[in-house]
Symmetry: C2
């Protein structure tokens, strides 16, 4: 086993703190899907203080795509609630930096971009409900993340359409269980926004996710499979592009912040 | 039947719009507990725009006492989501105006206080879960609202202790049902914060609520009664006093905003 595959094996067995050190040292710069199973991962959005009220309002008005887990005080890069020892400037494997509606950088840390004027938002991630589904032995396939025509409720400068994350279920029983399990987890986007009719929300080709996909080959949907889509945490990135916010930093898609909280600690029942 | 008792009988049968007109004309200036059963009532907090981020952050950090239902854009006194035709300046039966930690007025409308710089927050109200409990035939008594020693998580200028609202249940079955029913309603404060040990949260005399009580005589607790306390929407008023916010308006305790949304529309499952 070479060093890379040894690390891949290990991230499934690390504590969140150990994994974050790996990311901090740039020894892990890939997707976080397999890291620290059971622990909540968070999407990241950082905006200047002058935009913090409008963005927090946007999140409150759109709790599906933007469920707030934690917001730092202006200038704070520590996440007091979800991982007090983490450093939000270095502990994600990769970041995206937006300037006035353009991606200007995709760095592995944001030390040089950070200043005292920034506010960091940690938002719930759809991957958090996968562990709940697996724990309940729900059978499904991850299809990918698609852009839609669903307009978010705007707040000040922030506006744009919702991104969704789609999964295919083999039976009605499993689809119902998935709705139940995700409903009790508003911090991970809550229940699905669409059942069985992706074309109604503007998804033209379910087999070609335009926002994010795993690198597995997506087989065509079986005749009895039920397609369900959940609001997705990539949404703020499309909103950053559409809204042309002067400055905004996010995680790089799929490269989340691994918190010290178990996903189950964030459910409402 | 005189005019007053006729109105009292009628408010239980009015639509929210009809009730709000009554409040707007100052023909109803009393508690809203019996108005429009089944419809969600909301606590009101209004702050200057300069404090809006900190207060929204306070709400997000303290979703128990301060569950956000709607936040208006700065200067807007219409509640687009919960009751588009309402006027938040007139449609509550009574208000409280705070200046730097003192109550300076308890008017029946706030037309003269309103300006373009204010942001209105509608927060969930504990009375919203009473209809859910009644619908499930849960047997209980309302005891009252008490101050506690539970420190809220501060946000900027906003800090203070939590107020709770307490009910007594006759059986374990009913207490369990109440936890289940309130858990699915985070917009109405979610599940209780204390079961059976009010002294642990600093309540010295359960029979003498210091924040609010119905005018019914509170009989002593039976030997098998289970006392449970929920976070209460009066909390922002104690926070306004403690934090000495320069200017803040709230509803007068018990005198809520009656929305067009059914309580059931706001539950998570």
């Amino acid at each position: 086993m070479n060093r890379k595959s040894a690390i891949e094996k290990n991230i499934a067995e690390m504590t969140p703190g150990e994994f974050r050190v790996l990311a901090r040292r740039n020894e892990w710069s890939a997707v976080t899907g397999d890291a620290c199973p059971g622990y909540a991962q968070a999407n990241l959005v950082i905006v200047p203080k002058a935009f913090a009220f409008e963005f927090l309002l946007f999140c409150n008005r759109n709790p599906g795509p933007c469920p707030v887990i934690e917001v730092t005080n202006p200038g704070e890069y520590r996440s007091r609630f979800t991982a007090p020892e983490a450093d939000l400037r270095t502990d994600l494997p990769r970041y995206r930096v937006f300037k006035s509606g353009r991606i200007i950088d995709e760095p592995f840390d944001i030390i040089n971009y950070w200043d005292e004027n920034l506010v960091a938002f940690l938002l719930g991630c759809s991957w958090n409900f996968d562990s709940g589904l697996r724990a309940a032995n729900v059978q499904y396939r991850y299809i990918g993340d698609h852009s839609t025509n669903i307009e978010c409720v705007s707040a000040g400068s922030f506006h744009g359409t919702m991104v969704v994350t789609t999964r295919a279920f083999k039976s009605s029983h499993d689809a119902v269980r998935a709705i139940q399990i995700t409903s009790r987890n508003p911090a991970a986007h809550g229940p699905p926004v669409n059942i069985g009719n992706p074309e109604d929300i503007g998804i033209k080709d379910i087999y070609h996710p335009d926002m994010f996909s795993s690198h597995e080959h997506i087989k065509s949907i079986g005749p009895n499979e039920i397609i369900m889509s959940w609001a997705c945490g990539i949404t703020p990135q499309t909103v950053a592009l559409t809204s042309k916010i002067p400055f905004l930093i996010s995680h790089y898609p799929g490269h989340m912040f691994v918190t010290d909280k178990l996903s189950e600690e964030l459910t409402v029942l």
